[in-house]
């Protein structure tokens, strides 16, 4: 299953944020989105998530045989997890209550315990959100990824404010997700640890155009970088 975005143009605040952007999020592939500050990385993620309207182009899901499987919003939003900059943690609810609410919203109330354990939040279950550190809040926000299995993860800087173990944890989660056939669209500088053929590098320019670098090229570039470092 894969999501295809074709010729997406997004016009906001009097300028083109995205200029006919096309990308393909295939199963088992991690797409790493990079670009200078203000180039519209977050906007692209929000457009793909359907949170921001685009003026031209379309998003479509294809099944393994390449047939389109419907276009309606309800189907689209049920096929991915989106975790943005904001972690949606309510200060007056405990960690478990926050998770309970999200699980109720996603219709998977049984997954709360797994989510707590996976993100290492078990000991904090009864602590109100207001007392969490920035890193703990981020972990709680990322715990949403464990609420129900969905083919696509859209993550905006998932490693920000996490400690070393936290970064390793989320990198591991992303790797496991791709290895089990999930797809990933992420803005991050963290090394996920996937093989080069399972990585796709996307470069967004300030003009809003997207350059897709095929896995081989990315590999070459990495090799070049390494040789430069030496």
């Amino acid at each position: 299953m894969k999501l295809i975005a074709s010729d997406i143009t997004c016009f906001r605040g009097g300028r083109h944020v995205l200029e006919s952007v096309s990308l393909e999020l295939a199963s088992g592939v991690a797409s790493i989105l990079r670009g200078p500050n203000g180039s519209g990385k977050s906007t692209l993620l929000r457009v793909v998530a359907g949170l921001v309207d685009h003026q031209e182009g379309k998003l479509s899901w294809l099944d393994d045989e390449g047939r389109e499987i419907g276009e309606d919003d309800a189907l689209h939003t049920s096929l991915f997890h989106y975790v943005g900059h904001l972690d949606a943690v309510k200060p007056s609810l405990t960690v478990r209550e926050n998770l309970d609410f999200w699980a109720g919203l996603y219709g998977v109330p049984g997954d709360v315990e797994t989510a707590l354990q996976t993100l290492g939040l078990g000991a904090l279950a009864q602590v109100p959100g207001a007392f969490l550190s920035a890193g703990q809040k981020k972990r709680l926000g990322l715990a949403k990824l464990c609420l129900g299995t969905r083919p696509l993860w859209i993550l905006d800087e998932p490693s920000v404010s996490l400690d070393v173990e936290g970064v390793a944890l989320i990198a591991g989660l992303m790797k496991a997700h791709c290895e089990t056939g999930g797809s990933l669209l992420v803005t991050t500088h963290v090394d996920i640890g996937l093989k080069a053929e399972a990585l796709q590098s996307l470069r967004l320019s300030v003009q809003g155009t997207l350059k897709v670098e095929a896995p081989e090229n990315a590999q070459k570039e990495n090799a070049q970088k390494e040789s430069n470092n030496v």
């Binding site: 949170l51 943005g84 904001l86 609810l93 609410f101 999200w102 109720g104 919203l105 219709g107």
Partner: protein, 222 residues
């Protein structure tokens, strides 16, 4: 269908919990209501005949203002911390989302105001026969205020100081509710034509507000 229902109850339960917790402001509106209406005798003088004449109107004005107090947080809090993104991405239709938010607002703000109003009715010497019609009118009319308020709240959700603009947008729209509400209270019948008009306003906003607010929320997602 069952899934929709369980998502709606999850959201409703969370909203009620949040309002009951510290800082949720659950009872602030009631206290504000009592203070505002208690100030009336200081302003117009303690003369019983005058007070009992204006009692119904003052209670209604107090209710309108108190309902407004917590409206600016209706969607703003969820917008600021990213919860609104989750809500928009959930299987919950936008109209249902607005309905649940309004139900929670009414249960935590409107209902407590109605419960408090008999005390203020005694304070302002509301004539005995008018208390019943007043309460029925409040019960029928306050949901419309939550629903009209939701339109304003969803339109101003992205604005930093949206609260003031919200009042300017919403208060004029509340005028019909106020007019029919006071007329209903003075009708001395538990179900008068004014009550029916009030119910009509509520039913109309029940249809219009989820559609309008849902569209406005979508528009304000950035």
């Amino acid at each position: 269908m069952f899934e929709l229902f369980s998502t709606m109850t999850a959201l409703l339960r969370r909203d009620l919990t949040l309002s009951a917790r510290l800082g949720g402001g659950g009872l602030l509106a009631v206290i504000f209501f009592i203070i505002v209406v208690s100030m009336v005798p200081f302003g117009v003088g303690p003369e019983g005949a005058l007070l009992s004449k204006i009692a119904a109107g003052m209670i209604w004005v107090g209710v309108v203002l108190s309902m407004l107090l917590s409206l600016d947080r209706l969607f703003q809090a969820d917008f600021e911390d990213g919860t609104l993104d989750l809500l928009m991405l959930s299987s919950l239709p936008k109209g249902a989302l607005v309905l649940v938010k309004c139900t929670a607002h009414w249960l935590t703000t409107g209902l407590p105001l109605i419960v408090a109003s008999p005390i203020l009715a005694i304070l302002l010497q509301l004539p005995d026969g008018l208390l019943g019609p007043l309460l029925v009118g409040l019960l029928v009319g306050t949901p419309a205020m939550s629903l009209i308020g939701a339109i304003g709240a969803s339109l101003t959700v992205g604005l930093r100081r949206g609260g003031l603009l919200l009042s300017l947008l919403v208060l004029p729209l509340q005028v019909p509710v106020l007019i029919f509400g006071v007329a209903a209270a003075k009708s001395e019948a538990l179900w008068s034509p004014s009550h029916m008009l009030l119910a009509a306003v509520t039913l109309m906003t029940l249809v219009v507000s989820p559609l309008a607010s849902g569209a406005a929320l979508k528009l304000n997602m950035t």
